[in-house]
Homo-oligomer: 212 residues x 4
DNA sequence: GATGAATGAGGTTTCATTCAT
DNA sequence: TATGAATGAAACCTCATTCAT
């Protein structure tokens, strides 16, 4: 953490929240810059300009460039998971639950298209503890999708490899950022439905014959 | 281009081919390194070590790191297109042609998983002429897929947005490199069939209702 | 000097002494840190952490890192000189006076082994006025030792160069901090006697022949 | 090691020795600068100026500033040990061997007064492998002195703690750099004799009574 | 064809210090 | 008295690239 963490004794909400608000603003700028130029090509000076702050001033809020990426990625997964946890209990129908996962993922990441790109493109850059922590979070998130598919498969007695379907599905969803254009493409919720339809119909239709 | 361009012009076949063989070897090493560390994090010294060659020596074969990436990407698309052009005339059935495209893409890139990753991850780094040239090549390649889908749609009177399907399909295919493991997953040709099935069945099954 | 100098002038004893007590505590922490990490490698943040105080807060008590070192060194010499002045009048025997000097030096600095190390290792860092003031103080202190040796030489009609002996003696004494270990080595007073014996016996024994 | 180490395949004496000569020159400049300003205060830019070379150019010859210090310290000990090994076999008389050690140490380090100061002042800065390697070398060198004193003690049946004498002796010798002035003080060989006399006479004279 | 040696530009990070509050 | 927040300067180091040989 940045310098401030060391002196952050008090629970003075005002102060603490000012720090958090500032940090959040920095993370937003960082997300934009990492998205536009890529993590490595983005320099801390770029960020300092975007934040209208001195280079040294930035480091009051975090330790290192690497941790910026870590914070961005971690928060993203925390938020999308949180939303998922709110929505998922609403239904017990396996198909609806899969559709819910897809919709949650697509609407969340399309709302944060830039962050999505950062996440997709800067996959291996985090190393050490931060790297393995993010990797674990990602794995968990993917596993949840696989499990929902597995539920569906069991419930309907279908034949397919949940892992493969999940991977193809994530491939399709996570690459949206490379081509999605709100002006010509369907709005997020509809797009989510369309993709769900393709995958679910595909899965149902070929049932009994080959298995993926 | 490097110094050698002069000799290349002379048409001295012997020289030219030795040059080409050496360059090809360098491009292979570069592909591995770019894949493992990412384009920006990979240094020319890493490459010189891998090639057991001096830094200055490398520059005889190309004139900038950026061009290395350009050459890698360009050759990849040239090869995959070449193969496609050989196979596609074999059939006129629209569905078979789509399946052929998918199989060609997946088997080619799974055989060159590292190159695939480079292509997927270093999307925006090329700038200027090289950047736009590669972008044009990519666009053409994508358009071919879209056109094949369009052929199918017309032939069968289906309702779907070819562009969206193509994009989802490319997403699914291009992310294979992040999870594909030859030891646990289906071999390339079978995997291609499975993915084709999902998408085509999906498209057929939902026809008439919603369209993607 | 820090802001507090203004209040100090007012002669407000209460304030002044609280200020002094706080400053003394800071100097102790600074001594430890300078000893452990070296003056340059020790950061003001290290000190702020040790003092459980904010960085800005520290600067109320002094106006620069350099002055911290100055204050440490100055106080050290003031104290050791003060003690010497108390003890020295007790005897007029030249040999006893030399022994007294040695004992005073060794017991004082072994009691403050960390300060001793700071003094020995950060010799040239002070510049400007503070630098020359400390240099003068050191020179005076060294001169006193030389003068005591000179007294001895004259009184006993010996032949040796007091300056050289003094320097060798200080070398031996000031490097104690690098190896002295209270658990295995003689206690300070005995160690002082042993070193005195070596130097004095050495000086007596070789008298008449060569001179140092 | 510097960049060059990686490509240094060949035993081409001409090339290799040019590299070595350049590196040696850099180490000399570094020694002067580290001596004058201290290791931490000396910047690589200072060194680049002294060497009339670009900053990046310097790094062709070594890895890091830390390794510069390591190389300086290591070479110093290697040289002084080498010289000692040449001289020591010349005599078997224990006293002469101790005198030889002292003379070798003093003449060597007084000839390289600046290096001596670097060695004395930058004691703890090396960390990790380099740090422990140098520490081991130093310990060995000190142990040799202690062993020579021990030989003397046994041969003459004297009573003193070799370790303490060695430490006081090194203290006296290693601080020479702080005051030795070739214009007013005895030349190195004579100074060595004088210091030897003091310590040996001191040791002989007080034998039977107290022991150090 | 190939290399040893060199460089300018730029990277991230740390530092002592300040100032409004 | 004390602090949170900020800063300019400078640190070490790496990079892609070049050029005489």
């Amino acid at each position: 953490m940045g310098v401030a963490a060391t002196t952050a004794v008090l629970g003075q909400t005002r102060r603490r929240s000012r720090f958090d608000r500032r940090l959040a603003r920095i993370l937003e700028h960082a997300t934009n810059i990492f998205c536009d130029k890529g993590y490595e090509r983005a320099s801390m000076r770029d960020l300092s300009r975007a934040c209208a702050m001195s280079l040294a001033g930035l480091y009051y809020y975090f330790d290192s460039k690497e941790r910026l990426l870590y914070l961005i990625e971690k928060e993203l997964f925390e938020r999308v998971t949180e939303l998922l946890d709110q929505k998922l209990p609403a239904t017990t129908d396996p198909e609806q639950r899969v559709r819910l996962f897809i919709e949650n993922h697509i609407t969340f990441f399309l709302a944060k298209q830039k962050a999505m790109k950062v996440l997709a493109q800067e996959d291996d850059v985090l190393t050490g503890n931060m790297g393995s922590e993010i990797a674990a979070i990602k794995r968990d998130y993917y596993r949840r999708c696989t499990e929902l598919l597995e539920e569906l498969r069991c419930a309907k007695g279908l034949h397919f490899k949940s892992r493969s379907i999940a991977m193809a599905l994530f491939g399709a969803m996570n690459c949206l950022h490379t081509w999605y254009n709100p002006k010509v493409d369907s709005p997020p919720r509809l797009l989510a439905k369309e993709i769900s339809d393709i995958f679910l119909c595909g899965v149902y239709a070929k049932n009994g014959s080959a298995s993926i």
